[in-house]
Symmetry: C2
Subunit: 393 residues, 2 copies
């Protein structure tokens, strides 16, 4: 092999998104005139709320789209702090809030701050694949811990204690989770925070789906301790995916180092996105995104029982986000083949488990309810006609 | 120390931007009613061109600000390819162009692709500090090579050959350079490309200031070989800093792996920024940014001789960008103290050399000509009154 073709070892350990192959196959079908029901898409179908679009227009009219502070516009940091108080009853100093270039950058900053080479970060498997890839990119080691319905597909304090080693630097929890839509119960989150703190580790909690919670008043891990790192985003609850804006709440003593990292790694988040995001924290936008949250809940309330009826295993009812992680092992083939055959036979697209880790991915597929209910109903209807035609295992 | 306070080793090796301290001091002076001449600012003073702003407005009206492909909008990739052909006479396949979340992300992707832990990347010292910090963040080793006027403050093929070790993965050249504004002569760039290729290494060329070239028709390193990685940006020549958009041109066989890294590290560049950037490649915008380039050149033509007249050493006339790296050792104090004393005495702000490396930073300061000529003249006037009052060394 030509020496110039060499790529770094990490590249071989970072998997592509298999959902992209599903999407490519789905688009090929559509180009051939087939109707496709997209239950593979990991972003809200709702457009950016109108007040946010209006704020972006005003932001352009205001001109001067220069760099901002690496930590973000001070007024946006204050607005996010106010939101924690108003929505979650948790007071956070604006100085602890770092506006980031998407939650991706929040994760990059946090892990760059904390993880030395070969340090381990504990994660749930199945989980969001980028998380382990960030750890690997920084030459740390992501330790995927197999989780299942017995722990709501989440880490527990006991699992963390069992897997902690001298090399463990911390744990990363996503609650609600992608792909499982499950939430860490509050009592367990308290135990996790204590278990991590007792070991001198760092707890990182990904709350990008927290606003989309369907089981009572959600709580932020920030209420537990000033030592927890919380990752969040404007993408999901506020329907701002393409704006690439998120935030990080960090222990105050780390903010100076995080600023230094942000200055070096991306300079500042997109200015116009920040100006637009200021409109997220108005009553008008609140009403819009809460109504959309209710619609997501209604879709979940339709789709979970409908998939169970079809024979998909959903042992834990998802309580947040817009994904359902289902056991498809009853259909007699591995999940990658199952997803492709379903797509070809019915035009229904969903994501094979292999995107989410190594713990029984062949037995699972993820459905997203990021399309309108009539389309979900059509998808279920198509699957209901096709699944009985499969040969028994 | 509380174990939870531990930060990763890299954090201690990543320096803050000292220019920020100068800016903070400058703003304190301004808040106290003093007039400050800002020659420390590293971004163009020109606003985003009007056609680009108009395209952004239309982009909002178009709605649907969702994720794009991780590689960027296909039409933008094609437009950038067309630009290389029209501007530089170099044909580049659009498939080789990856639109990125600022040139920062282009650098992150390239280094994540290439650099294993402890791999070395050769860089000029003085140079742009983020470059070495990116290498360090990925657990590689940035090897700063001392350069001075004898090589236009740039690496040469000979320097690369002298410093190459079994651990060297490649070299990163910035041409024109920040902080020196100097360009690698074309013959030398050819020699560098051959020297790196002969050693099986990777050559990365940062061309973010290439559009702002003042000495004849600039040439892109892409004309030399399809094996070179080129980093570029909409920030400088197109005056789009706050939009956080750049691009990378990579060897075609690496694009799939780069896509995988981009999907994981930031998902996609900001959608609206991409729609706006499409307007960069129109005749109307071209006329605007070329006129601004002429203005930058006129500022350089004023400031370089004026600073020389004051006693600053500028042994190589800068040929691009908007920085002048000057030897201030004749004024009898180290550059950090000199910059702060100048600010306090005259209100003229500029950047001490310590931001740019370890090779004689105490003897250098960087001036930026990102302000209008009357302000540059006023700055020179103030320095001309103050410098003679300094005690001889």
């Amino acid at each position: 092999m030509d020496a110039r073709s060499k790529t770094a070892a990490r590249v071989h350990e970072i998997a592509p998104f298999h959902v992209m192959e599903v999407q490519t196959a789905a688009r090929t079908l559509e180009a051939a005139g087939r109707s496709v029901i997209h239950m593979e898409i990991g972003e809200p179908d709702f457009p950016t709320p109108e007040p946010v679009m209006a704020a972006a227009l005003a932001g352009i009219a205001g001109g001067g789209i220069y760099y901002t502070s690496a930590l973000g516009l001070p007024e946006l940091r204050r607005a996010i702090a106010g939101y924690y108080d108003a929505r979650y009853g948790t007071a956070i100093a604006p100085e602890r809030i770092i506006v980031t270039a998407g939650s991706s950058a929040a994760l990059l900053l946090t892990l760059a701050l904390l993880v030395n080479r070969d340090d381990q970060i504990l994660l749930a498997d199945p989980g969001y694949p980028c998380n382990r890839h960030f750890v690997r990119t920084l030459e740390g080691e992501a330790v995927g811990i197999a989780v299942g319905p017995e722990s709501n597909y989440q880490l527990t304090a006991d699992l963390i204690a069992q897997h902690w080693t001298p090399r463990t630097r911390g744990a990363l929890i996503a609650s609600p989770s992608n792909p499982t839509g499950t939430t860490v119960p509050w009592g367990e989150m308290e135990s996790i925070a204590l278990a991590v703190a007792a070991r001198g580790g760092a707890l990182i909690v990904d709350e990008i789906y927290l606003g989309l919670s369907y089981a009572g008043q959600p709580r932020t891990a920030l209420a537990l301790s000033d030592e927890i790192f919380v990752i969040s985003s404007f993408s999901k609850y506020f329907n701002m995916t393409g704006w690439r804006l998120g935030w990080l709440v960090a222990p105050e003593r780390h903010v100076r180092d995080i600023e230094k990292l942000a200055q070096n790694l991306y300079i500042s988040p997109a200015t116009l996105s920040q100006r637009a995001a200021l409109a997220c924290f108005t009553g008008e936008t609140h009403a819009i995104v809460e109504a959309r949250r209710d619609e997501f809940r209604a879709r979940r309330d339709f789709l979970v029982p409908a998939l169970r009826e079809l024979g998909f295993g959903i042992p834990v009812t998802p309580t947040g986000g817009f994904f359902i992680y289902t056991d498809c092992s009853g259909f007699g083939m591995d999940s990658e083949r199952f997803a492709l055959e379903a797509l070809n036979a019915t035009g229904v697209a969903f994501t094979p488990g292999i995107d989410f880790g190594r713990h029984r991915p062949e037995a699972h597929v993820r459905f997203a309810y990021t399309i309108a209910r009539p389309l979900l109903e059509e998808g279920v209807h198509r699957l209901a006609r096709w699944l009985p035609t499969l040969r028994p295992q």
